[in-house]
């Protein structure tokens, strides 16, 4: 198992290199002057585009350019993001924890709701509960993140003013800027508890309610469907019939024998769902003005801030690889038949 994990972790740089080759390769479609824009920070430089092209060898052949980019990137220089007015890596370090916090919190209701509804539907196949769940999941699945987010914002912020966009209320932002609050993880809810500030914890949580709902709806619909299918499959297995014929109560057969086995694909899917929550994170953060990497990437994309989008894509690739790894490991943990040697 350890060997398997290490082998898979060794794949990480390979994927990162592949993704970066593709993106840096795509940049070759731009003219050297357009590529130079990534290095421009002041108006004076703007008048000296040719000097920049020369300095960074932007008209050199692709391998040279990739080598230049890669040797800088390895040393921690991922370029300068105009969208955030600071180096790309600094922004990622600052903003990534906020996005991870959001995605992790969204994953909880996704898994909980998905398993619960999927179980209810499968145990009452073709009955009212099943039909209702089915319609609900199709509806949920059809609600695009950006539409749902806007609607929630119109109702609960614009209309009722129960929840505000952003990450914290102004009073706490001011307080934090004046010091006295230590940042440990960058995840606001965790940091608030570590600082012993329950009021900030509640405030941070209140700001997360709408984004989490927005993110969770689509993915829970998917998990519900998979859970239902998988449980129906398990219920038709021989060992379930054996358990029933032994005279075990229905509840015990359904929940212990069938559901445990049915959870295997759901667990796998959940870690993959985490990677795909990133899709939603970009949109959700933009709607709720939540300062994670998603909103930064979206702003950067509109401003054609290439180093930022490149950095964001690499982080996404890394998260996808890690989520796949977690899925495989969990797979082996819950299903003793699966061994990686």
């Amino acid at each position: 198992m350890i060997a398997f994990i290490i082998r898979r972790l060794l794949m990480l740089p390979v994927v990162i290199i592949a993704v970066s080759i593709v993106i840096v390769g795509l940049l070759q479609f731009l003219s050297p002057a357009q590529r130079a824009a990534a290095f421009v920070r002041s108006e004076q430089q703007l008048r000296n585009i040719d000097a920049i092209i020369e300095q960074y060898q932007l008209d050199a052949p692709f391998p040279v350019q990739y080598w230049n980019w890669a040797s800088e990137a390895v040393q921690g220089n991922w370029g300068y993001s105009r969208a955030s007015s600071e180096p790309v890596l600094t922004t990622i370090r600052k903003r990534l924890p906020a996005s991870i916090e959001l995605a992790l919190l969204a994953l909880l209701p996704v898994i909980g709701l998905g398993i619960w509804l999927g179980t209810a539907a499968a145990l009452n196949q073709e009955k009212l509960v099943d039909q209702a769940t089915r319609i609900l999941s199709i509806l949920g699945w059809s609600l695009p993140t950006f539409v749902l987010g806007i609607w929630l914002l119109v109702i609960f912020y614009g209309g009722l003013d129960w929840f505000q966009p952003g990450r914290l209320s102004n009073q706490y932002i001011i307080e934090m800027a004046s010091g006295g609050f230590t940042t440990y993880t960058g995840m606001m809810t965790v940091d608030a508890l570590l600082n012993g500030r329950f009021d900030i914890f509640v405030d941070a949580l209140a700001h997360l309610v709408l984004p989490v709902i927005t993110l969770a709806v689509v993915s829970s619909a998917q998990i519900t469907r998979v859970m239902r299918t998988s449980l129906l499959d398990a219920l038709s297995q021989d060992y379930v019939r054996t358990a029933r014929s032994k005279g075990l109560p229905d509840r015990s057969v359904n929940l212990k024998h069938a559901r445990r086995n049915a959870l295997i694909p759901v667990i796998t899917l959940s870690s993959l769902a985490f990677a795909f929550l990133l899709n939603g994170v970009v949109v959700t953060e933009t709607i709720f003005n939540y300062p994670g990497i998603g909103i930064w990437a979206a702003t950067a994309a509109v401003q054609l801030d290439v180093p930022a989008v490149l950095g964001f894509a690499l982080v996404t690739a890394a998260i996808v690889v890690l989520a796949n790894l977690v899925a495989d490991v969990l797979y082996a943990v819950v299903d003793p038949r699966i061994r990686y040697d």
Binding site: I135, V147, V302
Partner: protein, 347 residues
């Protein structure tokens, strides 16, 4: 390049057969089950409604067309009734090749304050005076343009690449499969965003980006289908009759591999429109004032809070464009769901 043309020629060779089979097709197990499922029927009804709205968008909006659109169509406010007359060439011209200016939403005013629905503007007016109803109707047309064009291009690319991989196998096949693994694992919206950044914002670039993101999935299905069909007995039969490799591939393997991929692709149109709308929403697609649902939802973000004293005052700015997208996607999902049910009753 030969392979690019063949798949499109294929349907032309079969019209007789399909005509003869129409009744049988309608009575087939698949169609029977689809007709029995009320949700599938609902999905079809929704989609047919959208198709009709998209086709007849010039007629539906003939009394509210913008000045540029009327000029390009050669009508005036007093003669715009001509659009309703099927014997008038302008009726067909507006349906088949409407000028690009018709996709600009006409402005009722330049006031930054939205106006609630009234008799003349049943769905209201956004800030900037844009007529919401007009935007939604022409947005439906835009959605089908985007969906069909993007899916068509990625399908074509997927068929060619997947076909080559399935036919030749070996290192090319291996390389392609590793590549598609990577692309498919990557969240598609983010990948399209990366492409759109490099190409620059704009609806055309968004469509190119989506096609580039979409084809690997089809290439994979295509390759799998080719490998499956290749093992079937009629292929052995053809070989035994002495047909050469290319003839077997184009005459027997390819046509029989296309059915699955075309169904999958046509059900994907909804998802493609959704991703395009998301990109437009992020500001990478159409500009303000263009009849595009994603752009309209994006524009609605400026009107979250109503005027003082009336917090829900601007509800119509975000409700209608959002609803147009949700119902559209719902139609595709209902249909897709029913199809999945028929092919795999357990799912």
């Amino acid at each position: 390049m030969d392979a690019t043309n063949r798949p499109e020629q294929q349907p032309e060779q079969q019209p007789e057969e399909t005509l003869r089979d129409t009744r049988a097709w309608y009575q087939s197990k698949l169609m029977k089950r689809l007709r029995r499922s009320p949700l599938a029927v609902l999905g079809v009804v929704i989609l047919v409604a959208y198709v009709l709205i998209a086709i007849f968008s010039p007629q539906l909006t003939h009394d509210r067309l913008g000045r540029g659109c009327m000029r390009d169509l050669g009508v005036t406010p007093t003669t715009s009734e001509r659009l309703l007359n099927p014997t008038d060439p302008v009726f067909w011209r507006a349906i088949v090749v409407p000028p690009g200016s018709c996709f600009r939403i006409p402005r009722a005013s330049f006031s930054p304050i939205p106006q609630p629905p009234n008799a003349e503007y049943p769905l209201g007016i956004t800030g900037g005076g844009y007529d919401i109803l007009y935007g939604l109707i022409w947005g439906a047309r835009m959605a089908f343009y985007i969906g069909i064009l993007v899916t068509g291009i990625s399908l074509g690319l997927g068929i060619v690449v997947g076909g080559l991989a399935g036919y030749f196998g070996g290192w090319f096949d291996n390389l392609l499969m590793r590549f598609t693994d990577t692309v498919l694992a990557f969240p598609n919206l983010i990948l399209a965003m990366v492409f759109a950044t490099i190409f620059g914002a704009g609806l055309t670039n968004v469509m190119v980006a989506l096609a580039l993101v979409g084809w690997p999935a089809y290439a994979r299905i295509m390759r799998g289908e080719i490998l499956r069909v290749r093992e079937q007995e009629f292929v052995d039969g053809a070989r035994a009759l002495g047909a050469n490799g290319l003839r077997i591939f184009f005459k027997h393997i390819l046509p029989n591999s296309l059915a699955a991929i075309i169904i999958v692709a046509s059900l994907d149109i909804g998802a493609v429109v959704l991703t395009a709308a998301a990109l437009s929403f992020l500001g990478l697609g159409a500009e303000v004032g263009f009849a595009d649902w994603g752009q309209m939802v994006n524009f609605a973000r400026q009107y979250i809070k109503g005027p003082p004293g009336d917090p829900f005052g601007y509800w119509y700015v975000s409700l209608w464009p959002g609803l147009a997208i949700v119902v559209f996607v719902l139609g595709w999902n209902l249909l897709g769901d029913a199809f999945r049910d028929v092919f795999d009753p357990r799912a």
